[in-house]
Symmetry: C2
Subunit: 182 residues, 2 copies
DNA sequence: AACTTTGTAACTATAATGGTTACAAAACGG
DNA sequence: CCGTTTTGTAACCATTATAGTTACAAAGTT
């Protein structure tokens, strides 16, 4: 019951990148597709980068793209990247220690919540970004070749951007999961 | 990710009632065990009553107790009584209709979220309040007989309350699920 | 009639999410 | 080396959900 859409946005972002292939996407382009603000996208992108799911780069030819093949990233990876604290929470303030129920309820509930979380993770682990993209296609199949020409890829001036260098391919942050310069 | 403890509190409340048997508990007693305010308890109790899980009564001998045997109420019943909207949410604002990914992502994500919710529900359906209470006991086993004498059951004046009439047993709201007078 | 407890409204505090603006730092092109 | 582009990030605001609190009417008991 989360009232937040971060997981949905994250999956959307990654699917978009899988769809557009090697080419880095700018946060502005992504924001347009998601229908939100670029900073919101960058915030989520940051978490995904820290988890090693995407790689980003500043500069005029910059942007973000997937760090791995979309068939290698599962929704569980996404879920964990966002550091959700589990489906449910325990008591805000610890229950009474003077009540036989209060003393142990947290332990018992903890076991239950663990069972629930495990079930969720089992489901998410079996769905990859590639699966999501594949499920996406039947709907807009005909656009498959046009791909992202809708979005701002040809700038307002028509100066088309060329396929980019594989984003410092093989460079530094491979496997450590962070593309950050700090 | 749910930053709320309503599910935990609800399970706590029901376990407490299961523990104390037929005897109605006052929201103040429950609040003491949960370590919160009686009104918070009454708010949750209201939702549980609407779902037919508890029965309440005003007046000096009033309070709330389980509507059914604790082995008949599952954690799924509790979950549904609280009307959680599912584990994850979709986009806050609808994604771009001009993007092949944006158009269909909500549909695909909806399927995924359904799978997740179903998995959660399957787990919750297999755990009853009675199970929780049973798991509770090994820890504070020795208190089993003292039960709730800790809590405010003997008033400050020592005037002990006697076992109550089975709360208008067999009366009105049986099965409709609501004990409310409106 | 007096007392007790629930039901409920109203108000406040807190925290998470998300939207927005602003700007420094990094990367690139000329 | 300079200007441009884009990310990274801080700062601020609006909205919403939860929960804590006070207060009181209505229902039930003695």
């Amino acid at each position: 019951m989360s009232t937040n859409s971060r997981f949905a946005v994250a999956v959307h972002v990654l699917s978009l990148m899988a769809w557009s292939g090697e080419e880095p996407l700018k946060s502005e382009q992504v924001a347009e597709s998601v229908n939100t603000n670029p900073v919101v996208i960058r915030r989520i992108l940051k978490e995904l980068a820290e988890a090693g799911l995407v790689v980003s780069q500043t500069g005029s030819l910059g942007g973000s793209r997937l760090a791995h093949d979309p068939s290698e990233t599962t929704l569980l990876d996404v879920y964990q990247a966002l550091e959700y604290g589990g489906v449910f929470s325990l008591h805000r303030a610890p229950p009474s220690r003077d009540c036989p129920v209060g003393v142990n309820i947290e332990t018992v509930l903890g076991d239950v919540l663990l069972e629930v979380d495990t079930a969720v993770e089992r489901v998410l682990q079996n769905i990859t970004i590639n699966d999501v993209v594949r499920r996406l296609k039947p709907c807009g199949a005909s656009v498959a070749s046009k791909t992202l020409e809708h979005m701002g890829k040809n700038g307002k001036n028509g100066k088309r951007q060329i396929a980019l260098p594989p984003l410092r391919a093989g460079a530094k942050s491979r496997g450590n999961g962070s593309s950050r310069t700090a």
